[in-house]
Subunit: 238 residues, 2 copies
């Protein structure tokens, strides 16, 4: 497999970085080809702006997605976007590895999505969910956070973490066609001692070694359950 790991932690010595390094090691041992986009090390620019387009479909009024399509068709995507898009198209498995900031990805990773998940390639028109531009690829999200697992149970104070991650798991990865694995969650990380952290790392290692045997997890909708205007069809289960 070709594997792209996108890593987004500001501290190079963080536990999140250890998860990334472990993934590189395990996947390498398995004979996979791995690329890493370490967004802080790359000083990746996360701001989707008019400056992203050197040739404009409409110089007077920027609809970002329409300009993305124009840039794809004219071969004028900015170099930093083009390089990341090529990695995204190249990979069979995408791993997004980050600390939870405000119940989601840090802005540097959100902006990697805003800019690199280009309209006309990853989605567009009726090409989304099981007809998305990236159908056939798999995705795994791995996160660290300070909270404990019981705070995110069905009766937990915050509700399920998977619900908080819905914009990413369904709205981004599922939407563009990825088969999505259940996220790997490192609970309570800043408060663990070295021995407890070693246990989490071992759980991660075991998870990665057996990833090929996992079932998909994310319950993406199926476009056949909806009509041409995306109203639910009679008798569909949605």
């Amino acid at each position: 497999m070709n594997i792209l790991i996108v890593h987004a932690h500001p501290e190079p010595r963080s536990f999140s970085a250890a998860l990334k390094d472990t993934a590189v090691e395990v996947f390498g041992q398995q004979g996979h080809v791995v690329q890493v986009s370490d967004l802080h090390a790359m000083q990746f620019n996360p701001v989707a702006s008019t400056a992203d387009f050197t040739s404009r479909a409409n110089p007077d009024y920027c609809v970002y997605a329409l300009e993305q399509r124009h840039a794809v068709s004219t071969g004028t995507l900015r170099k930093d976007i083009q390089e990341e898009l090529e990695k995204l198209r190249w990979c069979d498995l995408l791993v997004l590895n980050f600390p939870i900031f405000w119940y989601g990805p840090p802005a540097i990773l959100k902006g990697w999505i805003d800019r690199v998940f280009v309209s006309g390639v990853t989605y567009g028109g009726k090409r989304f969910y099981d007809r998305g531009g990236l159908v056939g690829k798999r995705a795994l999200v791995s996160v660290t956070l300070g909270g404990q697992q019981h705070m995110f149970g069905p009766r937990g104070i915050h509700g399920p973490l998977e619900d908080m991650l819905k914009p990413l798991l369904q709205g981004t990865l599922g939407y563009t066609g990825f088969s999505v694995h259940h996220p790997f969650i490192g609970w309570h990380i800043p408060y663990l001692d070295d021995s407890q952290r070693a246990t989490v790392l071992q759980d991660w290692r075991t998870r990665l070694m057996n990833l090929h045997a996992e079932q998909d997890w994310c319950p993406q909708p199926t476009l056949n359950d909806f009509d041409d205007r995306l109203y639910p069809r009679e008798g569909s289960v949605s």
Copy 2:
């Protein structure tokens, strides 16, 4: 009231900008004091990084939230963060106005939250939800998107938009203590003609003029329903 509008659209002539301008006008007519943070115009830096701290609690290992607390206590927050934090503390009503990118705020706004919702001021320890650092303030989220309302109903293909916005509405605004209004949603905006857009703008104007009479909407948890370790108390409804 003191009102802070944070606006995050890359196109100055966008419909989202018209919503922002209308809000400035209506609030001004009502005698409120309004400040606008137009994040693209300000070229706001959304990347939470070690560069945010000029004096470090731990120079060898950056835990972002701990460095935020240190910077607050030593008065060494970076100027761009300090200025936005002062606006946030000043306001009685916060309006976040943005186009939906991947079912959430664009990275430039996500990063405004990552950097400006400073630990030790907006939350910290057991100060969250109804004990959050920003209790007493109100928040209103206004968004534009291409999707139509029926795609986000209970049987809609994407599920409720409010669920997609949970990390922002509950996990960020509710978490820090805001009373949260139901979001204003501009559906299908890129596909509307001028007359239809005028109707949406009029709905927005009416909404803003009557905002003072609205009930809170966001069902934040109440800390009293949970024990000291944040397990649900027996008999609580959570």
